[in-house]
Symmetry: C2
Subunit: 378 residues, 2 copies
Amino acid sequence: MNRSNSGANLPALRSHNAALVLDLLRTAGDAGISRLELAERTGLTPQAVSKITARLRAEGTATEAGRRASTGGKPRTVLKLVPSAGHAIGLHLDRDELTAVLVDLAGTLVGVRTVPLDLGAGHDTVVGTAAEQAESLIGGRPILGVGVASPGPLDHHTGVLHRITGFPQWNGFPLRDALAARLGLPVVLDKDTNAAALGLALRGPADSFAYLHLGTGLGAGLVLGGTLLRGSRTGAGEFGHQTILLGGPACGCGARGCIEALCLMSVARGDIAAAARFLGVGAANLVGLLDIDRVLLGGRTVMGAQDGFVRGVRAVLEERARRGGDARAVPVAVAPGGPHAVAEGAARLILGPVFGHGDGGGTRLQAPVRSSDLPILG
Amino acid sequence: MNRSNSGANLPALRSHNAALVLDLLRTAGDAGISRLELAERTGLTPQAVSKITARLRAEGTATEAGRRASTGGKPRTVLKLVPSAGHAIGLHLDRDELTAVLVDLAGTLVGVRTVPLDLGAGHDTVVGTAAEQAESLIGGRPILGVGVASPGPLDHHTGVLHRITGFPQWNGFPLRDALAARLGLPVVLDKDTNAAALGLALRGPADSFAYLHLGTGLGAGLVLGGTLLRGSRTGAGEFGHQTILLGGPACGCGARGCIEALCLMSVARGDIAAAARFLGVGAANLVGLLDIDRVLLGGRTVMGAQDGFVRGVRAVLEERARRGGDARAVPVAVAPGGPHAVAEGAARLILGPVFGHGDGGGTRLQAPVRSSDLPILG
DNA sequence: TGCACTTTGGCAACAGCGTTGCTTAAGTGG
DNA sequence: CCACTTAAGCAACGCTGTTGCCAAAGTGCA
């Protein structure tokens, strides 16, 4: 059950268990999972799992798909998620382009559209373009909702943008509500780095990790204990302006010795190794402070010199591990996912709550979201 | 309900709601709280709250205590927690002394004992002394469990100590199990900074804060979104060895420019203002990265020059807020709680789960903890 | 081929949760 | 004194996961 301040009743109990089972089905993927395995993993009795899966099958969100080999008795029946039982839209609003994706319940990409878009154009133009792209992908399908990833800062709870660097005209604009009104769908807004981290969290097995994004700026998405850390005012992840060199070179933020400034200066000089070392020092600080399992790198600058950045960051973390007497350093890798990773992560803002992850942001999809509320079953 | 991977059944539902109500009763303190207010706060129906509070009253953990003024009808009956319905022991194992406290359900200090203790003495001596101090405080009362706060690093899940700086002989010692076997009570082990932070979390209203402890070393306890962050290997909060001055003075850890080294060197020179500024830079990094609401300072060194440290850290944070255009800087204060704060926080390791906070650590008190399982009600 | 055994999974009855509908208790105000 | 308001409990209820039992569907040996 979610750590919350609200009481739970029978429907909440039911949703919780259904979401848990759905999540295990999702994680199992094409391999599927048997009822008894579900019972072991959830701690529920086999009979309870039978009832829950029967409901899910009746709703169309799960299905039987073959059997396992017998171990001396009746063979186990394999259950799988039916990915087409629900879809979500993910929008990545970047400074110069808009990427829209349609994904199914399993998170599989069903459709993509990318169009150039000047974030400096008027509110109506941007909202209109975003809505058009979303609608063209939907194609009449029932949609759970729309997740939007935007450069920060912004307020995830209210869905309002703040002062985006270089685009002050968006300050205070209620993007979530504007888009929700235009599309008639639930919309959730979050920072691009958070969306990327969320996509990675649902993809991989790492319980705690940091996604470091180095593009025109430097930011981080933090997943701690399986949960995305947004902070009190959706401000968490401001990694670029961590001071690592007191009295160092001036940064655009007004301070000195910020990681971002040091990295970008090195990159501008063409010295990737130096940039990677600065990034590594920041990563080492993160690893120590938060005790994370993994560091993932992304962003256009990193993608332009993947090996150099991974090697440089890894070297700093290995040095740190040696000092601490740890057998193994925290692994470093380039974030998987390709060019639509952020948009796909944005879609996960919608899919997450269906599987019991997070709270669906400011806009609760339902209260609580239960599988029987999937629109397709309406 | 707790974000977990385990299914929930009716007893779990009942425990969850009972814990929620108990927590509201605890928070209300001497002022008490009415049934209808409980219903509003939990989202449960008034009738459900009536049933739950009736059970709690029957068990002895809650009681009626007067009525509020009428607002035109029957006046509300005020309910309060019965603090004496349960007690917990908190032990603070420090390098040179042991503090043991006995607290009641409300967290109120009932008894304290402090004895000198050399952590360098043998395992049996230390465990024996700890057990003796605990037993002398218990005095036949039914006890929920014993929380132990120790210098890190250690593993909170297994209850095993790691390589404590200066006391390598404890490496790998299963302190939790040793003490549990000796006392016949559930024991939970955690780092001293975590215990301190947990005590502060249950005391104040701040949802997210950092407790920075500057004594012989520098560490942090992080509470994010109401939950103590322990990290994957109970390693979170290693704040002292954050690099803030690349290529700076050498630190005992083998790196250069660690906050701890910079702070302690300044303190050694008697330059509290400089130490506070270094601490402030680290705090500013934290505030940006985690978007916390509050910074609290503690530890012997801080307590020796409270004003200097608070002013210095505050100045850095205010400068940071000005740069970011924020109206208000994150507030800084000395952590309240007095000399037994850590031991009291350790006791909260046991009390927390009763009120639905956290998971009770490696040793689950019960599975799940429900109020009817309080030993006193046996 | 037949029978014993193992394992899976559903049916039916059940205890217990919060909810609903209604009644009783205990005040205020004209 | 009576109408009204508000609080809180009783009883019946729907629905949850659980328990006890049984049918289905395999394996393996005689």
